[in-house]
Protein backbone atom coordinates (compact mmCIF):
# COMPACT_ATOMS: atom_id res chain seq x y z
CA UNK A 1 0.00 0.00 0.00
CA UNK A 2 2.83 2.29 0.86
CA UNK A 3 4.53 1.78 -2.46
CA UNK A 4 1.30 2.11 -4.36
CA UNK A 5 0.59 5.41 -2.66
CA UNK A 6 4.03 6.71 -3.43
CA UNK A 7 3.88 5.56 -7.00
CA UNK A 8 0.55 7.15 -7.64
CA UNK A 9 1.67 10.27 -5.82
CA UNK A 10 4.76 10.56 -7.94
CA UNK A 11 2.63 10.08 -11.01
CA UNK A 12 0.27 12.81 -9.98
CA UNK A 13 3.13 15.16 -9.22
CA UNK A 14 4.73 14.54 -12.54
CA UNK A 15 1.46 14.81 -14.42
CA UNK A 16 0.66 18.06 -12.68
CA UNK A 17 3.89 19.68 -13.68
CA UNK A 18 3.66 18.17 -17.13
CA UNK A 19 0.35 19.83 -17.65
CA UNK A 20 1.62 23.18 -16.51
CA UNK A 21 1.55 25.71 -19.26
CA UNK A 22 4.80 26.95 -20.60
CA UNK A 23 7.41 25.92 -23.09
CA UNK A 24 10.13 23.77 -21.57
CA UNK A 25 12.65 24.91 -24.14
CA UNK A 26 11.98 28.51 -23.36
CA UNK A 27 12.27 27.73 -19.69
CA UNK A 28 15.56 25.94 -20.14
CA UNK A 29 17.03 28.60 -22.31
CA UNK A 30 15.91 31.39 -20.07
CA UNK A 31 13.92 32.99 -22.84
CA UNK A 32 16.81 33.44 -25.23
CA UNK A 33 16.35 32.12 -28.70
CA UNK A 34 18.60 29.19 -29.47
CA UNK A 35 19.99 27.80 -32.70
CA UNK A 36 18.17 24.74 -33.96
CA UNK A 37 21.02 22.40 -33.16
CA UNK A 38 21.02 23.46 -29.51
CA UNK A 39 17.29 22.97 -29.35
CA UNK A 40 17.75 19.53 -30.78
CA UNK A 41 20.38 18.68 -28.19
CA UNK A 42 18.15 19.85 -25.39
CA UNK A 43 15.24 17.85 -26.72
CA UNK A 44 17.35 14.75 -26.80
CA UNK A 45 18.80 15.20 -23.38
CA UNK A 46 15.55 15.86 -21.65
CA UNK A 47 13.43 13.56 -23.77
CA UNK A 48 11.15 16.45 -24.49
CA UNK A 49 9.57 14.88 -27.54
CA UNK A 50 9.06 11.49 -26.02
CA UNK A 51 5.55 10.35 -25.11
CA UNK A 52 4.21 11.16 -21.66
CA UNK A 53 4.85 7.85 -19.99
CA UNK A 54 8.38 7.64 -21.23
CA UNK A 55 9.10 11.02 -19.78
CA UNK A 56 7.49 9.93 -16.56
CA UNK A 57 9.64 6.81 -16.49
CA UNK A 58 12.83 8.75 -17.02
CA UNK A 59 11.92 11.25 -14.40
CA UNK A 60 11.08 8.61 -11.85
CA UNK A 61 14.23 6.67 -12.60
CA UNK A 62 16.31 9.77 -12.19
CA UNK A 63 14.57 10.72 -9.03
CA UNK A 64 15.25 7.38 -7.43
CA UNK A 65 18.89 7.88 -8.20
CA UNK A 66 18.88 11.23 -6.58
CA UNK A 67 18.83 13.21 -9.77
CA UNK A 68 15.95 15.57 -9.59
CA UNK A 69 16.81 17.82 -12.44
CA UNK A 70 17.96 21.35 -12.56
CA UNK A 71 16.38 24.46 -11.19
CA UNK A 72 15.54 26.88 -13.93
CA UNK A 73 15.86 29.97 -11.87
CA UNK A 74 18.98 29.10 -9.96
CA UNK A 75 20.65 26.84 -12.45
CA UNK A 76 21.76 24.34 -9.90
CA UNK A 77 20.95 20.73 -9.21
CA UNK A 78 17.66 20.48 -7.47
CA UNK A 79 19.11 17.84 -5.19
CA UNK A 80 21.77 20.21 -3.97
CA UNK A 81 19.28 22.96 -3.44
CA UNK A 82 17.09 20.63 -1.44
CA UNK A 83 19.97 19.32 0.63
CA UNK A 84 20.97 22.78 1.72
CA UNK A 85 17.49 23.52 2.98
CA UNK A 86 16.34 20.24 4.33
CA UNK A 87 17.80 20.62 7.79
CA UNK A 88 15.91 23.80 8.43
CA UNK A 89 12.63 22.14 7.68
CA UNK A 90 13.52 18.92 9.42
CA UNK A 91 14.68 20.80 12.49
CA UNK A 92 11.54 22.87 12.54
CA UNK A 93 9.25 19.86 12.26
CA UNK A 94 11.22 17.96 14.86
CA UNK A 95 11.21 20.84 17.31
CA UNK A 96 7.47 21.31 16.86
CA UNK A 97 6.87 17.59 17.26
CA UNK A 98 8.68 17.53 20.58
CA UNK A 99 6.61 20.47 21.78
CA UNK A 100 3.40 18.77 20.71
CA UNK A 101 4.25 15.47 22.33
CA UNK A 102 5.50 16.89 25.59
CA UNK A 103 2.98 19.63 26.16
CA UNK A 104 0.04 18.28 24.22
CA UNK A 105 0.02 14.85 25.80
CA UNK A 106 1.11 16.30 29.12
CA UNK A 107 -1.77 18.72 29.31
CA UNK A 108 -4.22 16.11 28.11
CA UNK A 109 -3.13 13.68 30.79
CA UNK A 110 -3.33 16.29 33.51
CA UNK A 111 -6.83 17.26 32.42
CA UNK A 112 -8.04 13.70 31.97
CA UNK A 113 -6.83 12.43 35.29
CA UNK A 114 -7.74 15.37 37.46
CA UNK A 115 -11.25 16.77 37.22
CA UNK A 116 -11.78 20.30 38.37
CA UNK A 117 -9.94 23.50 37.62
CA UNK A 118 -7.09 21.91 35.69
CA UNK A 119 -9.55 20.13 33.51
CA UNK A 120 -11.87 23.03 32.79
CA UNK A 121 -9.09 25.47 32.06
CA UNK A 122 -7.47 22.96 29.72
CA UNK A 123 -10.70 22.48 27.83
CA UNK A 124 -11.19 26.20 27.34
CA UNK A 125 -7.57 26.83 26.46
CA UNK A 126 -7.39 24.06 23.91
CA UNK A 127 -10.70 25.06 22.35
CA UNK A 128 -9.22 28.44 21.62
CA UNK A 129 -5.75 27.40 20.57
CA UNK A 130 -6.98 24.64 18.30
CA UNK A 131 -8.46 27.34 16.14
CA UNK A 132 -5.32 29.43 15.85
CA UNK A 133 -3.73 28.83 12.48
CA UNK A 134 0.04 28.70 12.33
CA UNK A 135 0.43 32.03 10.60
CA UNK A 136 -1.79 33.84 13.07
CA UNK A 137 0.17 32.28 15.90
CA UNK A 138 3.29 33.43 14.08
CA UNK A 139 2.36 37.08 14.03
CA UNK A 140 1.18 37.06 17.61
CA UNK A 141 4.33 35.36 18.79
CA UNK A 142 6.50 37.73 16.81
CA UNK A 143 4.66 40.65 18.29
CA UNK A 144 4.91 39.46 21.86
CA UNK A 145 8.21 37.68 22.06
CA UNK A 146 10.28 39.30 19.40
CA UNK A 147 9.11 42.88 19.24
CA UNK A 148 7.87 43.57 22.72
CA UNK A 149 9.99 41.29 24.81
CA UNK A 150 12.92 40.77 22.54
CA UNK A 151 13.49 37.25 23.78
CA UNK A 152 13.65 35.61 20.38
CA UNK A 153 14.57 36.81 16.92
CA UNK A 154 11.76 37.51 14.52
CA UNK A 155 13.14 36.19 11.28
CA UNK A 156 15.97 34.29 9.76
CA UNK A 157 17.86 31.12 10.27
CA UNK A 158 20.62 31.83 12.65
CA UNK A 159 24.20 30.62 12.65
CA UNK A 160 25.53 27.66 14.55
CA UNK A 161 23.50 25.02 16.30
CA UNK A 162 22.43 26.85 19.44
CA UNK A 163 21.59 29.99 17.58
CA UNK A 164 19.64 27.89 15.12
CA UNK A 165 17.53 26.54 17.93
CA UNK A 166 16.91 30.02 19.19
CA UNK A 167 15.78 31.11 15.77
CA UNK A 168 13.59 28.09 15.36
CA UNK A 169 11.80 28.46 18.69
CA UNK A 170 9.09 30.90 17.69
CA UNK A 171 8.49 29.16 14.36
CA UNK A 172 8.27 25.77 16.06
CA UNK A 173 5.86 27.17 18.60
CA UNK A 174 3.67 28.67 15.88
CA UNK A 175 3.66 25.39 14.06
CA UNK A 176 2.85 23.46 17.20
CA UNK A 177 0.09 25.57 18.72
CA UNK A 178 -3.01 24.25 17.06
CA UNK A 179 -1.77 20.67 16.78
CA UNK A 180 -0.83 20.75 20.44
CA UNK A 181 -4.36 21.74 21.34
CA UNK A 182 -5.85 18.95 19.28
CA UNK A 183 -3.56 16.34 20.77
CA UNK A 184 -4.36 17.60 24.25
CA UNK A 185 -8.07 17.37 23.63
CA UNK A 186 -7.93 13.87 22.23
CA UNK A 187 -5.63 12.74 25.01
CA UNK A 188 -8.01 14.08 27.60
CA UNK A 189 -11.01 12.48 25.90
CA UNK A 190 -9.23 9.15 25.54
CA UNK A 191 -8.16 9.06 29.17
CA UNK A 192 -11.61 9.95 30.41
CA UNK A 193 -13.22 7.36 28.20
CA UNK A 194 -10.88 4.63 29.34
CA UNK A 195 -11.57 5.39 32.97
CA UNK A 196 -15.24 4.61 32.41
CA UNK A 197 -14.65 1.27 30.80
CA UNK A 198 -15.99 -1.94 32.25
CA UNK A 199 -12.64 -3.65 32.46
CA UNK A 200 -11.49 -0.93 34.79
CA UNK A 201 -14.38 -1.90 37.05
CA UNK A 202 -13.08 -5.44 37.04
CA UNK A 203 -9.67 -4.27 38.17
CA UNK A 204 -11.19 -2.09 40.87
CA UNK A 205 -13.25 -4.99 42.12
CA UNK A 206 -10.05 -6.90 42.63
CA UNK A 207 -8.51 -4.20 44.71
CA UNK A 208 -5.82 -3.12 42.30
CA UNK A 209 -4.35 0.09 43.73
CA UNK A 210 -5.23 3.32 41.97
CA UNK A 211 -1.81 4.16 40.63
CA UNK A 212 -1.38 0.80 39.02
CA UNK A 213 -4.91 0.95 37.71
CA UNK A 214 -4.23 4.20 35.93
CA UNK A 215 -0.95 3.07 34.51
CA UNK A 216 -1.77 -0.45 33.38
CA UNK A 217 -5.39 -0.12 32.40
CA UNK A 218 -6.26 3.46 31.65
CA UNK A 219 -3.10 4.92 30.16
CA UNK A 220 -1.97 1.81 28.40
CA UNK A 221 -5.30 1.58 26.61
CA UNK A 222 -5.58 5.29 25.94
CA UNK A 223 -2.15 5.17 24.32
CA UNK A 224 -3.78 3.78 21.20
CA UNK A 225 -5.88 6.76 20.14
CA UNK A 226 -3.28 9.14 21.55
CA UNK A 227 -0.53 7.69 19.39
CA UNK A 228 -2.76 7.83 16.35
CA UNK A 229 -3.66 11.48 16.73
CA UNK A 230 -0.13 12.46 17.64
CA UNK A 231 1.13 10.71 14.53
CA UNK A 232 -1.45 12.27 12.27
CA UNK A 233 -0.85 15.78 13.53
CA UNK A 234 2.91 15.43 13.24
CA UNK A 235 2.50 14.22 9.68
CA UNK A 236 0.44 17.29 8.90
CA UNK A 237 3.26 19.49 10.17
CA UNK A 238 5.21 18.60 7.06
CA UNK A 239 2.90 20.62 4.88
CA UNK A 240 2.11 23.47 7.26
CA UNK A 241 5.81 24.06 7.78
CA UNK A 242 5.73 25.96 4.50
CA UNK A 243 3.47 28.57 6.02
CA UNK A 244 5.63 29.06 9.07
CA UNK A 245 8.82 29.23 7.07
CA UNK A 246 7.32 31.95 4.91
CA UNK A 247 6.13 33.91 7.92
CA UNK A 248 9.51 33.81 9.58
CA UNK A 249 11.58 34.10 6.41
CA UNK A 250 13.25 30.80 7.11
CA UNK A 251 15.29 29.18 4.42
CA UNK A 252 13.43 25.91 4.38
CA UNK A 253 11.96 23.51 1.84
CA UNK A 254 8.41 24.68 2.35
CA UNK A 255 9.10 28.31 1.64
CA UNK A 256 11.24 27.33 -1.29
CA UNK A 257 8.45 25.15 -2.66
CA UNK A 258 6.03 28.04 -2.56
CA UNK A 259 8.46 30.37 -4.28
CA UNK A 260 9.16 27.82 -6.98
CA UNK A 261 5.47 27.28 -7.61
CA UNK A 262 5.03 30.98 -8.09
CA UNK A 263 8.00 31.29 -10.39
CA UNK A 264 7.07 28.08 -12.19
CA UNK A 265 10.40 26.45 -11.48
CA UNK A 266 8.87 23.08 -12.16
CA UNK A 267 11.78 20.80 -11.50
CA UNK A 268 12.06 22.16 -7.99
CA UNK A 269 8.32 21.82 -7.45
CA UNK A 270 8.46 18.22 -8.58
CA UNK A 271 11.44 17.40 -6.46
CA UNK A 272 10.26 18.94 -3.21
CA UNK A 273 6.71 17.67 -3.66
CA UNK A 274 7.98 14.16 -4.11
CA UNK A 275 10.10 14.46 -1.01
CA UNK A 276 7.30 15.87 1.11
CA UNK A 277 4.79 13.29 0.00
CA UNK A 278 7.27 10.53 0.74
CA UNK A 279 7.90 11.92 4.19
CA UNK A 280 4.17 12.19 4.81
CA UNK A 281 3.52 8.63 3.74
CA UNK A 282 6.43 7.32 5.79
CA UNK A 283 5.21 9.03 8.94
CA UNK A 284 1.74 7.60 8.41
CA UNK A 285 3.27 4.20 7.96
CA UNK A 286 5.11 4.57 11.26
CA UNK A 287 1.82 5.43 12.92
CA UNK A 288 0.24 2.29 11.49
CA UNK A 289 3.13 0.21 12.79
CA UNK A 290 2.91 1.74 16.24
CA UNK A 291 -0.82 1.20 16.29
CA UNK A 292 -0.44 -2.46 15.45
CA UNK A 293 2.16 -2.80 18.18
CA UNK A 294 -0.07 -1.21 20.78
CA UNK A 295 -3.32 -2.93 19.91
CA UNK A 296 -3.09 -6.71 19.71
CA UNK A 297 -6.46 -6.92 18.05
CA UNK A 298 -5.21 -5.19 14.94
CA UNK A 299 -2.91 -6.60 12.28
CA UNK A 300 -0.63 -4.37 10.28
CA UNK A 301 -2.22 -2.39 7.53
CA UNK A 302 -5.68 -2.06 8.97
CA UNK A 303 -5.87 1.04 11.06
CA UNK A 304 -9.49 1.34 12.10
CA UNK A 305 -11.15 4.52 10.99
Amino acid sequence: MLLASLLVASFVIFAATYLAPGNPIAALSGGRSLPASSVHVLEQRYHLNAPFFTQYWYWLGNALHGNLGISITLRENVSTLIASRIWTTAGLVLYASVLILVFGIGMGLAAGLRPGLVDTSTVVLTAISAAIPAFVAAIVLILVFAVKLGWFPAIGNGTGVLDDVRHLTLPALSLAVSSLAIVARITRAAVREERERDHVQTAISRGIPARQLIRRHVLRNAAIPITTIAGITIASLIAVAAVVETAFSLNGLGAYLVQSAQSKDLAVVQGISLLLVTAFVVVNLLVDVLYAMLDPRVSLGSRAA
Partner: protein, 290 residues
Protein backbone atom coordinates in the same frame (compact mmCIF):
# COMPACT_ATOMS: atom_id res chain seq x y z
CA UNK B 1 -50.96 -4.17 24.19
CA UNK B 2 -52.63 -7.43 25.11
CA UNK B 3 -50.58 -10.19 26.54
CA UNK B 4 -49.02 -11.86 23.57
CA UNK B 5 -45.71 -12.83 22.10
CA UNK B 6 -43.58 -9.72 21.69
CA UNK B 7 -42.22 -9.40 18.20
CA UNK B 8 -39.42 -7.13 17.07
CA UNK B 9 -40.93 -4.71 14.61
CA UNK B 10 -38.85 -3.81 11.59
CA UNK B 11 -39.07 -0.09 11.64
CA UNK B 12 -38.22 1.88 8.55
CA UNK B 13 -35.55 4.38 9.38
CA UNK B 14 -36.98 7.47 10.92
CA UNK B 15 -34.54 10.21 10.15
CA UNK B 16 -33.12 11.48 13.37
CA UNK B 17 -33.77 15.07 12.60
CA UNK B 18 -31.35 17.70 13.67
CA UNK B 19 -33.47 19.26 16.34
CA UNK B 20 -31.94 22.65 16.08
CA UNK B 21 -29.24 24.82 17.37
CA UNK B 22 -31.29 25.96 20.35
CA UNK B 23 -30.72 22.79 22.25
CA UNK B 24 -26.96 22.69 22.00
CA UNK B 25 -26.13 24.78 25.01
CA UNK B 26 -24.77 28.23 25.64
CA UNK B 27 -21.48 27.74 23.83
CA UNK B 28 -23.41 26.36 20.89
CA UNK B 29 -25.65 29.38 20.80
CA UNK B 30 -22.74 31.77 21.07
CA UNK B 31 -20.97 29.99 18.24
CA UNK B 32 -24.06 30.09 16.09
CA UNK B 33 -24.34 33.80 16.77
CA UNK B 34 -20.77 34.42 15.68
CA UNK B 35 -21.32 32.37 12.55
CA UNK B 36 -24.52 34.24 11.79
CA UNK B 37 -22.76 37.58 12.11
CA UNK B 38 -19.92 36.41 9.89
CA UNK B 39 -22.36 35.18 7.28
CA UNK B 40 -24.27 38.43 7.29
CA UNK B 41 -21.07 40.37 6.92
CA UNK B 42 -20.00 38.10 4.10
CA UNK B 43 -23.22 38.77 2.28
CA UNK B 44 -23.64 42.45 3.02
CA UNK B 45 -20.04 43.44 3.58
CA UNK B 46 -19.54 45.68 0.59
CA UNK B 47 -22.65 47.61 1.52
CA UNK B 48 -21.43 48.15 5.05
CA UNK B 49 -17.96 49.29 4.15
CA UNK B 50 -17.76 53.03 4.21
CA UNK B 51 -14.47 53.45 2.47
CA UNK B 52 -13.20 51.86 -0.70
CA UNK B 53 -11.31 48.81 0.50
CA UNK B 54 -9.05 48.59 -2.48
CA UNK B 55 -7.95 52.12 -3.10
CA UNK B 56 -4.43 52.68 -1.83
CA UNK B 57 -3.42 55.96 -0.32
CA UNK B 58 0.11 55.76 0.91
CA UNK B 59 -0.05 58.98 2.79
CA UNK B 60 -2.45 57.30 5.17
CA UNK B 61 -0.37 54.18 5.70
CA UNK B 62 -0.35 52.78 9.23
CA UNK B 63 -2.33 55.55 10.81
CA UNK B 64 -4.07 54.23 13.88
CA UNK B 65 -7.77 54.20 14.80
CA UNK B 66 -9.68 57.42 14.96
CA UNK B 67 -12.18 59.63 13.24
CA UNK B 68 -14.63 57.06 11.97
CA UNK B 69 -11.93 54.60 10.99
CA UNK B 70 -12.28 52.20 13.86
CA UNK B 71 -9.31 50.08 13.04
CA UNK B 72 -7.05 52.52 11.33
CA UNK B 73 -5.24 52.05 8.08
CA UNK B 74 -3.12 49.28 6.68
CA UNK B 75 0.20 49.12 4.88
CA UNK B 76 -1.17 50.80 1.80
CA UNK B 77 -3.32 53.31 3.51
CA UNK B 78 -6.58 51.47 3.10
CA UNK B 79 -9.25 51.41 5.80
CA UNK B 80 -8.77 48.20 7.75
CA UNK B 81 -12.38 47.82 8.88
CA UNK B 82 -13.67 48.19 5.34
CA UNK B 83 -11.24 45.59 4.13
CA UNK B 84 -12.29 43.20 6.86
CA UNK B 85 -15.95 43.65 6.02
CA UNK B 86 -15.44 43.08 2.34
CA UNK B 87 -12.84 40.39 2.84
CA UNK B 88 -15.34 38.31 4.79
CA UNK B 89 -16.82 37.35 1.48
CA UNK B 90 -13.87 35.43 0.10
CA UNK B 91 -12.87 34.23 3.53
CA UNK B 92 -16.27 32.60 4.03
CA UNK B 93 -17.09 31.68 0.47
CA UNK B 94 -13.96 29.70 -0.18
CA UNK B 95 -14.48 27.31 2.74
CA UNK B 96 -18.13 26.99 1.82
CA UNK B 97 -17.27 25.73 -1.63
CA UNK B 98 -14.64 23.38 -0.24
CA UNK B 99 -17.07 21.94 2.29
CA UNK B 100 -19.89 21.48 -0.16
CA UNK B 101 -17.75 19.78 -2.78
CA UNK B 102 -15.84 17.54 -0.41
CA UNK B 103 -18.89 16.56 1.64
CA UNK B 104 -21.05 15.79 -1.35
CA UNK B 105 -18.39 13.73 -3.11
CA UNK B 106 -17.24 12.17 0.15
CA UNK B 107 -20.77 11.13 1.03
CA UNK B 108 -21.24 9.75 -2.43
CA UNK B 109 -18.17 7.58 -2.27
CA UNK B 110 -18.86 6.53 1.30
CA UNK B 111 -22.40 5.42 0.59
CA UNK B 112 -21.48 3.59 -2.58
CA UNK B 113 -18.62 1.83 -0.82
CA UNK B 114 -20.81 0.94 2.16
CA UNK B 115 -23.72 -0.19 0.07
CA UNK B 116 -21.93 -2.29 -2.48
CA UNK B 117 -19.26 -3.56 -0.12
CA UNK B 118 -16.97 -6.20 -1.59
CA UNK B 119 -14.95 -5.18 -4.61
CA UNK B 120 -16.42 -1.72 -4.99
CA UNK B 121 -15.59 -0.97 -1.39
CA UNK B 122 -12.07 -2.27 -1.77
CA UNK B 123 -11.44 -0.15 -4.85
CA UNK B 124 -12.89 2.99 -3.32
CA UNK B 125 -11.07 2.48 -0.05
CA UNK B 126 -7.76 1.97 -1.81
CA UNK B 127 -8.36 5.07 -3.88
CA UNK B 128 -9.09 7.04 -0.74
CA UNK B 129 -6.00 5.67 0.93
CA UNK B 130 -3.90 6.96 -1.93
CA UNK B 131 -5.51 10.36 -1.78
CA UNK B 132 -4.62 10.52 1.90
CA UNK B 133 -1.01 10.87 0.89
CA UNK B 134 -1.60 14.46 -0.22
CA UNK B 135 -1.81 17.19 2.35
CA UNK B 136 -4.13 19.99 1.27
CA UNK B 137 -1.49 22.65 1.10
CA UNK B 138 0.69 20.53 -1.12
CA UNK B 139 -2.11 20.00 -3.59
CA UNK B 140 -2.74 23.72 -3.58
CA UNK B 141 0.91 24.33 -4.39
CA UNK B 142 0.75 21.89 -7.29
CA UNK B 143 -2.45 23.48 -8.50
CA UNK B 144 -0.73 26.84 -8.45
CA UNK B 145 2.07 25.49 -10.57
CA UNK B 146 -0.38 24.34 -13.18
CA UNK B 147 -3.12 26.88 -13.12
CA UNK B 148 -1.52 29.83 -11.54
CA UNK B 149 -2.44 31.28 -8.18
CA UNK B 150 -6.06 31.96 -7.36
CA UNK B 151 -8.96 31.06 -5.15
CA UNK B 152 -10.72 28.57 -7.46
CA UNK B 153 -7.63 26.42 -7.87
CA UNK B 154 -6.98 26.50 -4.13
CA UNK B 155 -10.57 25.62 -3.31
CA UNK B 156 -10.63 22.68 -5.69
CA UNK B 157 -7.35 21.29 -4.42
CA UNK B 158 -8.51 21.54 -0.85
CA UNK B 159 -11.77 19.81 -1.71
CA UNK B 160 -9.83 16.94 -3.21
CA UNK B 161 -7.60 16.75 -0.16
CA UNK B 162 -10.50 16.78 2.32
CA UNK B 163 -12.73 14.36 0.51
CA UNK B 164 -11.02 11.17 1.76
CA UNK B 165 -11.44 12.25 5.39
CA UNK B 166 -15.13 12.82 4.96
CA UNK B 167 -15.48 9.57 3.06
CA UNK B 168 -13.68 7.57 5.72
CA UNK B 169 -15.78 8.83 8.60
CA UNK B 170 -19.03 8.49 6.70
CA UNK B 171 -18.16 5.09 5.32
CA UNK B 172 -18.00 3.75 8.85
CA UNK B 173 -21.32 5.30 9.73
CA UNK B 174 -22.90 4.15 6.49
CA UNK B 175 -21.69 0.60 7.05
CA UNK B 176 -23.26 0.57 10.50
CA UNK B 177 -26.48 1.95 9.14
CA UNK B 178 -26.45 -0.50 6.29
CA UNK B 179 -26.46 -3.43 8.66
CA UNK B 180 -29.49 -2.22 10.56
CA UNK B 181 -32.54 -4.49 10.32
CA UNK B 182 -34.73 -1.89 8.70
CA UNK B 183 -32.52 -1.80 5.64
CA UNK B 184 -32.88 -5.52 5.17
CA UNK B 185 -36.61 -5.15 5.66
CA UNK B 186 -36.83 -2.52 2.98
CA UNK B 187 -34.77 -4.59 0.59
CA UNK B 188 -37.04 -7.54 1.13
CA UNK B 189 -40.01 -5.33 0.40
CA UNK B 190 -38.48 -4.57 -2.95
CA UNK B 191 -37.18 -1.05 -2.49
CA UNK B 192 -34.38 -0.11 -4.85
CA UNK B 193 -30.86 0.59 -3.63
CA UNK B 194 -30.97 4.24 -4.56
CA UNK B 195 -34.30 4.84 -2.91
CA UNK B 196 -33.14 3.18 0.31
CA UNK B 197 -29.94 5.19 0.30
CA UNK B 198 -31.53 8.50 -0.54
CA UNK B 199 -34.66 8.25 1.53
CA UNK B 200 -33.49 6.29 4.55
CA UNK B 201 -29.78 5.72 4.89
CA UNK B 202 -28.48 9.20 4.17
CA UNK B 203 -31.14 10.97 6.23
CA UNK B 204 -30.21 8.76 9.14
CA UNK B 205 -26.54 9.68 8.98
CA UNK B 206 -27.37 13.28 8.20
CA UNK B 207 -26.60 14.57 11.72
CA UNK B 208 -23.12 13.13 11.38
CA UNK B 209 -22.70 14.63 7.94
CA UNK B 210 -23.73 18.05 9.16
CA UNK B 211 -21.43 17.84 12.18
CA UNK B 212 -18.53 16.77 10.00
CA UNK B 213 -19.24 19.55 7.52
CA UNK B 214 -19.27 22.13 10.29
CA UNK B 215 -15.95 21.01 11.70
CA UNK B 216 -14.54 20.84 8.19
CA UNK B 217 -15.52 24.44 7.55
CA UNK B 218 -13.19 25.53 10.30
CA UNK B 219 -10.29 23.55 8.85
CA UNK B 220 -11.02 24.78 5.34
CA UNK B 221 -11.03 28.34 6.53
CA UNK B 222 -7.66 27.92 8.20
CA UNK B 223 -6.12 26.17 5.23
CA UNK B 224 -7.48 28.60 2.67
CA UNK B 225 -6.34 31.56 4.71
CA UNK B 226 -2.92 29.93 4.94
CA UNK B 227 -2.84 29.40 1.19
CA UNK B 228 -3.80 33.02 0.62
CA UNK B 229 -1.20 34.05 3.16
CA UNK B 230 1.39 32.25 1.06
CA UNK B 231 0.25 34.14 -1.98
CA UNK B 232 -1.18 31.11 -3.69
CA UNK B 233 -4.86 31.72 -3.13
CA UNK B 234 -6.71 34.98 -3.18
CA UNK B 235 -4.40 37.52 -4.72
CA UNK B 236 -3.70 40.97 -3.35
CA UNK B 237 -4.97 43.64 -3.53
CA UNK B 238 -8.23 41.76 -2.94
CA UNK B 239 -9.23 42.00 0.71
CA UNK B 240 -9.15 38.49 2.10
CA UNK B 241 -8.35 37.91 5.75
CA UNK B 242 -5.42 35.62 4.95
CA UNK B 243 -4.05 38.08 2.41
CA UNK B 244 -4.41 40.90 4.91
CA UNK B 245 -2.19 39.14 7.37
CA UNK B 246 0.47 38.61 4.77
CA UNK B 247 0.33 42.19 3.56
CA UNK B 248 0.45 43.71 6.99
CA UNK B 249 3.01 41.43 8.51
CA UNK B 250 5.73 44.01 8.19
CA UNK B 251 3.66 46.23 10.41
CA UNK B 252 4.21 43.87 13.30
CA UNK B 253 7.90 44.52 13.59
CA UNK B 254 7.51 48.17 12.75
CA UNK B 255 5.12 48.82 15.58
CA UNK B 256 1.79 48.76 13.75
CA UNK B 257 0.34 45.40 14.67
CA UNK B 258 -3.34 46.27 14.50
CA UNK B 259 -4.23 45.50 10.87
CA UNK B 260 -2.66 42.05 10.87
CA UNK B 261 -3.98 41.23 14.31
CA UNK B 262 -7.49 42.34 13.43
CA UNK B 263 -7.58 40.03 10.44
CA UNK B 264 -6.11 37.21 12.53
CA UNK B 265 -8.72 37.71 15.20
CA UNK B 266 -11.54 37.50 12.68
CA UNK B 267 -10.23 34.20 11.41
CA UNK B 268 -9.72 32.74 14.86
CA UNK B 269 -13.13 33.86 16.11
CA UNK B 270 -15.02 32.32 13.23
CA UNK B 271 -12.97 29.12 13.30
CA UNK B 272 -13.53 28.68 17.04
CA UNK B 273 -17.24 29.17 16.46
CA UNK B 274 -17.30 26.46 13.81
CA UNK B 275 -15.20 24.11 15.90
CA UNK B 276 -17.37 24.47 18.97
CA UNK B 277 -20.61 24.15 17.07
CA UNK B 278 -19.26 21.26 15.07
CA UNK B 279 -18.23 19.38 18.20
CA UNK B 280 -21.62 19.91 19.81
CA UNK B 281 -23.33 18.64 16.69
CA UNK B 282 -20.94 15.72 16.58
CA UNK B 283 -21.76 14.73 20.16
CA UNK B 284 -25.45 14.91 19.44
CA UNK B 285 -25.02 12.83 16.32
CA UNK B 286 -23.20 10.18 18.34
CA UNK B 287 -25.78 10.26 21.10
CA UNK B 288 -28.59 9.91 18.61
CA UNK B 289 -27.04 6.80 17.26
CA UNK B 290 -26.59 5.02 20.60
Amino acid sequence: MSAGIPVAVAEPGRPRVLIGVQSTGLAGIASAAVIAVATLVAVFGPLLARTDPELPNLSLAWIGPGGGHLLGFDVQGRDVLSRLLVGARTSMLGPLVVVIVSVVTGTGFAVVAAWRRGAADAVISSGLDILFAFPGILLAVLATAIFGAGLPAAAISLSIAYMPYVARVLRGAALRERSQPYVAALEVQGASASSICLRHLIPNILPLIVAQATILFGYAMVDLAAISFLGLGVQPPKPDWGVMISENQTGIVQGYPLPALAAGLCIVAVVIAFNVLGERLFERAQAGRG
